[in-house]
């Protein structure tokens, strides 16, 4: 097999025309305007802003985390076919430092609005929260967030630096080394992702618990990154970039992964629901109860149908996975559903309300701040991603398995 491949620089660098080079500017404007609007629109309801912000943050950060997972998995599996899109995933993961900054408002501004357990007065009246205090306290929560971001950014830098170094040196030893180190890296990633999901979304309702919660979030991350990679490469190809590099074979395979993880997500989601529904223990069932009343019922049904049934039949056939239209529509739809999923996880959280500050789950009431936060964080993410994409090659051009990936045939 031929190991040395030469690709035109035009094929593997960001197009100089169209929207791509303007992404940092456009995204930056949208980001600043969006976040600014969010603060202006909050009006009388700063608590709502906190939840809108967390929803937007979780949606975008799970995409970046999916990118990191993809890169580590690529090396762990010694995968060949995915070389041509790995650099795109690396760039998505490289936005993680931005998210470390965007996380700051959560502990600094929104802590008490979001996390009931952070309220000392509430803890004083709640023996369960007292029991959980060694884990659920502000200092430890912040420390854990620092650890998560340190691990993620550390892993990202480790893999991305090595990968970029290989572009210049064409040193095959780098791949060999990353293959070896990827296993412990994956363990670190899995543990931090699991506990980040617990910390940032499960503890919103501090009485509720589910051992599978981290796995559920993980399934969402993987769907998000595959949808993002498909969209990115399809859009880049509109400008002739990656043409002949990412082929129908790769879309077919990414489509399979997307399909597979849609099924995996449904499996995990259904397992969690069914076990809690069946045992019907009030302390657990209440969580689903909140997601079935106050206007949430249609959202729950939409999630089951739109996040599983529709993409299942949309993506099941072979021709669909090779069709640009079907893949674009499927990926966009799944990203939308991923947002619905995050919204459904975050929003129906019980918050103190009324004169007696009784805990009442928030009703389904879309707010302008939801969209503003989504746009704001997304704009900054896209701006930074656009900036990163402009640097260097979009394909790991000296990867030893690049030739295999280019000639890859999906069966």
């Amino acid at each position: 097999m031929e190991h040395h491949v030469t690709l035109d620089s035009q094929q593997i660098t960001l197009p100089t025309s169209g929207l791509w080079p303007k992404l940092p500017a456009v995204g930056g404007v949208i980001g600043v305007v969006g976040l600014g609007l969010a603060f202006l629109l909050q009006g009388e309801d700063p608590q709502r802003l906190a939840f809108s912000y967390l929803t937007g943050f979780m949606f975008w950060v799970t995409i970046a985390l999916g990118g990191l997972f993809f890169v580590i998995l690529h090396y762990l599996a010694r995968s060949g076919w995915s070389v041509v899109v790995r650099r795109l995933a690396e760039k998505v993961a490289a936005t993680l430092p931005l998210f470390a900054i965007l996380f700051l408002p959560i502990p600094l501004l929104f802590m008490h609005d979001l996390f009931h357990w952070s309220d000392a007065a509430a803890v004083a009246h709640d023996p369960l929260l007292q029991h959980k205090a060694p884990y659920l306290n502000i200092a430890f929560f912040n420390l854990r967030a620092v650890i998560y971001f340190a691990v993620w950014i550390g892993l990202m830098i480790y893999f991305n630096r090595a990968s970029q170094k290989q572009d210049a040196s064409a040193d095959f030893g780098i791949t060999a080394r990353l293959n070896k180190r990827s296993a412990p890296c994956m363990i670190l990633f899995g543990l931090t992702l699991n506990f980040a999901a617990v910390d940032w979304m499960m503890t919103l309702d501090p009485h509720w618990f589910s051992t599978i919660f981290g796995v559920y979030t993980f399934a969402g991350c993987v769907i998000a990154i595959f949808a993002t990679l498909i969209l990115m490469s399809l859009r880049l190809q509109r400008r002739g970039v990656l043409e002949g590099v990412v082929t129908g074979e790769h879309y077919h395979d990414m489509g399979k992964m997307l399909f597979g993880f849609v099924v995996f997500w449904a499996y995990i989601g259904f397992s969690q629901f069914m076990l809690i529904w069946y045992a019907n223990i009030p302390e657990e069932t209440i969580w689903f109860d909140h997601r079935w009343h106050n206007g949430w019922q249609p959202v729950s049904i939409l999630l089951a149908v739109g996040h599983f049934a529709i993409p299942f039949f949309w993506l099941i056939s072979q021709p669909a996975k090779r069709s640009r239209f079907a893949m674009t529509a499927g990926a966009l739809w799944l990203l939308f559903m991923h947002y619905v999923d995050i919204y459904w996880l975050v929003m129906p959280t019980p918050v103190p309300s009324g004169d007696h500050h009784a805990m009442v789950a928030q009703a389904f009431q879309p707010a302008a701040t939801d969209i503003a936060c989504w746009l704001g964080i997304g704009g900054l993410f896209v701006a930074y991603l656009g900036h990163l994409l402009g640097q260097g090659s979009l394909v790991p051009k000296a990867d030893p398995r690049l030739a295999e990936s280019l000639t890859f045939e999906s069966v």
């Binding site: 010694r78 791949t175 296993a183 397992s271 398995r401 030739a403």
Partner: protein
Amino acid sequence: MAHAVVADIDPIQGRTALIEGEPSFHDITEVVSAPVEWKPPLGWYIFLGASMALTSLLGVSIGWLFWEGTGIWGNNIPIAWAWPIVNFVFWVGIGHAGTLISAVLFLFRQKWRTSINRAAEAMTLFAVACALIFPGIHIGRPWLPYWMMPIPNQMGMWPQFRSPLMWDVFAVSIYGTVSLVFWYVGLIPDLATMRDRSTTKIRRLAYGFFALGWRGSFRQWLHYEKAYLMLAGLATPLVLSVHSVVSFDFAVSQLPGWHTTIFPPYFVAGAIFSGLAMVITLMVICRKVFKMEHIINLLHFDRMAKLILLTGTLVGFAYSMEFFIAWYGGNTYELFAFTNRAGGPFAWAYWTMIFCNVVTPQIFWWKKARTHMGILFVASIFINIGMWFERFVIVVTSLHADFLPSSWDYYRPTFWDFATFAGSFGLFFTLFTLFVRFLPMVAMAEVKSVLPQAHVHNRPE
């Protein structure tokens, strides 16, 4: 000996030989057919005899059970499920590796699976057969299992489909059926080989009957490959669902230690973990006895050991997550169930499980261990033991001390518990021993297709 044959030369690992020693297509046929065509060695008869002796112990145990009733076992309130369910889950778990290797690895284009998938699938079938015995006899009324079938009966009653035990009946029997079909479809081309090589009329008729008139026509191959892909695509979610359903038996209840949402994926990981260990145990022996060291070589063990390390890590993660949530949830009963596991009267079982399932596989971080037959063999036995104990811990420690302290009790197995369990191993090994004698234990057609000379590099338009 030249170790220089590759399917694809990997630029990193260099020449990784899926099959060592540059065999021709015909060499593969010869080596694989040999055990089926030769007069078996004395050792084969001895092993078969010993396995059948153990199987008869199973027969005696079941006979005595039917005569005397379930009182011969140690099962008693509060531990009513005890060994039969432990053994059932243990065997179903073993039965997961076959489908993993044949279906999941097939979908992930792991070509190395071709050397071991046939034997692993056979192992799956035999393990499922052993598993099905236990729920069948556990009810203690062997003349009534038809109540679990959805058939009109004289009582005008129907099965209770809200019971997870009914899900089990469907999941395990359908899993057995689909695995059998998958295995048989994979066998068809090789049965044709055996037919075409046969020297006696009886063999020709027997193999010919099951080969269905296969003649290697590419128009047949086209549909065959598609059907195989489809079966793999169906078997993959099936294998996940089966052990998930088994986990539902426990997890839909309200019993502390059983009711936790991570059970389905955690059981699946554990099942694959134990099944791979059993494949290693069997393959270490088979490759030696049947001189297939070049077909089932170090590369295959290396990969399997890596998968064991992966699934073992997932199992270890689930253990810790259960513990964390038991504390975090703040439910007194749940927390007690877990401290009681680790520090109560059955702590010995818990720590045996931890040692075997979490500590043992760590040795596979080292490549030396992944490719050393002795270490592989010993570690795989440890993992089998550990996975049996995992089910013991889940079933027994959760039941022996639940909500009502006045009914707490310690559990002791009887002689007949041991005899039944040992007997099931007899059945398993009897079936496997017969399999390696009468059917090709390596998928010849598939191995041939991963030889380098099978690839066409300059394709016509």
